[in-house]
């Protein structure tokens, strides 16, 4: 077997098979060790794939040896190679972290089931990213979503609100996926093909109602999945009440993959020649992106629960990506892709820090963070650094993405958008600063259940968390991986879509 030739499918297949196997493992340490090993393997495959794609250009893989457009094609170019690396990288960081966190929050006897669902979810997200077939995207989207519902619901042992959150997520997610299928059906109706590259060729010059309706259904469907403001209502509760490790993984990957699907459909399938897309960008994505940046960030300021606060902040950050997309320029697209990766890194680190607090104090409300610097200094500083990254302080990835966003808005002639970005970053200072102030300047609570002395989180949690924090700093200083690749990817997408 030629391993390199099989590379495009490996990141998807490995966790899929391993997920089924994890179900059979005895409870205890085994499923966790297996999941960690597999997610590292998957990350390795994705990293090799990224290297190969960066060196030699897009790779096409024919499932079952059926050539496109008849068979299912996995087509990896730089844009999805980056997302593959992000998703599998976050999985590789969360999996080792999960052991202690999951043991504390979930019945240990359920652990084989938890890790099976986790691996299947990883496989689904990677599948959405890797595939070049419109219907296959739906199937993988649902594979990942179904396992996500189960994972979120497992938080029900800690807080029964996880159950209602998972149910709301299920209803909204299924509505979104079904809208997406309707859109794909309309496109299939108009073109007779499901292959994304082939769709692009056959859609060229088609400006009829069927295609426009298909576009609208796909936009709304994926909008629901990526929690585009104001379709974000499922997100805050799902992230707040899911088990902490699950929150970290989802916040860093699930919505990012949906953003990627939107990019793929906008630029690789419809293309900027499709006049309807330009209207949608200007009159839907731009206002909704800006509204999300402000409304969601403002709501985040008034949250009493740090996980909910971070969840609302995620909705706001998605607004930045949509804003970048909505310019319809190469710079804007590059900025959106950069922020997609960077936001995954900073949200992952932040949620892992919260998970450490939950592990020791069993609470993720603001009160638990009071005086944390004296009780859990290592966790506190991880939170502070990734919080600075979220705000966009120079030296962190947050700054890189804000910089590219600002540049893109000036290049697109939307100087006011640059002002909006800065203004909404100031709101981020408010909500991050509020928690940081609690941690650094306040005294620990003197009475009540939170006052008991606590130790720092165990090493198995600190190392993955700090790995992500280090990534935040490293990619903040050396931008050739994230920004360089994203710019190349954006240029390639723009060539396909007929933009400049």
């Amino acid at each position: 077997m030629n391993l390199m030739a099989q590379l495009p499918v490996l990141p998807v297949v490995i966790p899929f098979v391993a997920g089924a196997l994890a179900l059979l493992l005895p409870k205890g340490r085994a499923p966790w060790a297996w999941a960690t090993f597999v997610s590292w393997l998957s990350f390795l495959a994705s990293a090799l794939l990224l290297r190969e794609v960066a060196a030699t250009g897009p790779v096409s893989y024919h499932l079952g040896d059926w050539p496109p457009p008849w068979g299912i094609e996995y087509r990896i170019d730089l844009a999805n190679a980056i997302v593959l690396a992000l998703v599998s990288g976050i999985a590789a960081a969360v999996a080792p972290f999960a052991y202690e966190s999951v043991r504390a929050e979930i019945d240990e006897r359920q652990s084989p089931y938890f890790y099976a669902a986790f691996l299947i979810c990883v496989s689904g997200l990677l599948g959405v990213t890797a595939t070049g077939d419109a219907f296959n995207i739906f199937v993988f989207l649902e594979i990942s979503s179904l396992s996500t519902y189960a994972l979120v619901a497992m938080g029900g042992r800690q807080d029964r609100r996880a159950l209602t959150a998972a149910f709301t997520y299920l209803v909204m997610g299924t509505l979104g996926a079904t809208f997406f299928v309707i859109g794909v059906g309309l496109l299939y109706h108009a073109t007779g093909t499901l292959n994304l590259a082939d769709l692009h060729l056959k859609l060229a010059g088609q400006h009829n109602r069927v295609v426009e309706a298909g576009f609208a259904f796909i936009l709304v469907g994926i909008g629901l999945k990526l929690a585009m403001f104001p379709m974000h209502l499922w997100l805050p509760n799902a992230y707040a009440y899911a088990p902490s490790a699950v929150s970290a993984f989802l916040a860093a990957t699930a919505t990012k993959v949906a953003v990627y699907v939107l990019v793929r459909f906008f630029y690789s399938v419809f293309g900027l020649d499709f006049a309807f897309l330009g209207d949608a960008l200007t009159y839907v994505l731009l206002p909704l992106g800006v509204a999300g940046m402000f409304v969601a960030s403002l709501i985040a300021v008034f949250q009493h629960d740090v996980k909910r606060m971070l969840a609302y902040s995620s909705v706001g950050q998605i607004g930045y990506m949509l804003l970048g997309l909505s310019f319809g320029t190469r710079e804007g697209l590059a900025a959106a892709l950069i922020h997609l990766v960077n936001h995954g890194l900073m949200k992952g680190a932040l949620f892992l820090a919260v998970a450490c607090v939950v592990y020791r104090l069993g609470d993720h409300r603001c009160a638990a963070f009071s005086g944390l610097a004296r009780r859990m200094p290592v966790t506190t500083w991880a939170f502070v650094l990734s919080g600075l990254s979220l705000i966009g302080v120079p030296g962190t990835v947050g700054f890189v993405s804000k910089w590219y966003l600002l540049e893109a808005s000036f290049a697109a002639g939307h100087a006011w958008a640059a002002f909006m970005i800065v203004a909404s970053s100031l709101i981020a200072v408010l909500y991050v600063g509020r928690v940081v102030e609690l941690m650094l300047l306040r005294e620990p609570p003197e009475q009540g259940p939170l006052s008991e002395p606590v130790k720092e989180a165990p090493l198995s949690m600190l190392i993955p968390m700090w790995a992500l924090v280090a990534a935040n700093l490293y990619f903040g200083l050396r931008t050739e991986f994230t920004a360089g690749f994203a710019e190349q990817a954006a240029a390639a997408l723009m060539t396909v879509s007929g933009g400049r």
Binding site: V13, V17, A20, L23, L24, L63, D107
Partner: protein, 146 residues
């Protein structure tokens, strides 16, 4: 003994339903049918059994643990076929690699039979698992069952 007629009828029907499931399963290679439909029919036989003899009796015949294993095995049959074709030098699910020297694509037949068998196994056991848990209505699903 209550529900005598129902129980006797069920006993008569049980084996033919399983047989029909297998027919649908293996006929799927040439015509309508296939793993999903067959899996559901297969599960129906056991659901009928549970309805007439009680869930406990059915669980004795087919415990939840066996279903969990069957579920995982089914997925592994499916994905394993794909991995096997990869190991034999083809692409994922490139069935021709299973019988490389065949003149009439024998590999395609082997491949689809194996994959559909995996699908059937997974679907039947998943359907029964869902039924067990809904019908069992335990206050909370016992994690031991997973």
């Amino acid at each position: 003994m209550p529900h005598l007629i129902l129980r006797v009828t069920t006993k008569m029907f049980f084996a033919p339903i399983l047989l029909f499931a297998l027919y649908v399963q293996f006929h799927g290679d040439y015509g309508p049918g296939g793993g999903f439909q067959a899996g559901v029919i297969f599960a129906v036989a056991f659901i009928l059994h549970a309805l007439c003899f009680g869930l406990e009796e059915t669980k004795k015949a087919l415990p939840q643990r066996a279903l969990t294993i069957a579920m995982a095995l089914g997925v592994m049959f499916y994905a394993g076929t794909g991995l096997a074709t990869m190991l034999l030098g083809g692409n994922f699910l490139g069935y021709d690699a299973l019988a490389p020297h065949s003149t009439h694509h024998e590999g395609q037949h082997y491949g689809i039979l194996l994959v559909e068998f995996g699908v059937g196994l997974a679907v039947a056991s998943t359907m029964l698992t869902v039924f067990y848990h809904f019908a069992g209505r335990e206050p909370e699903i016992d994690p031991e069952d997973w």
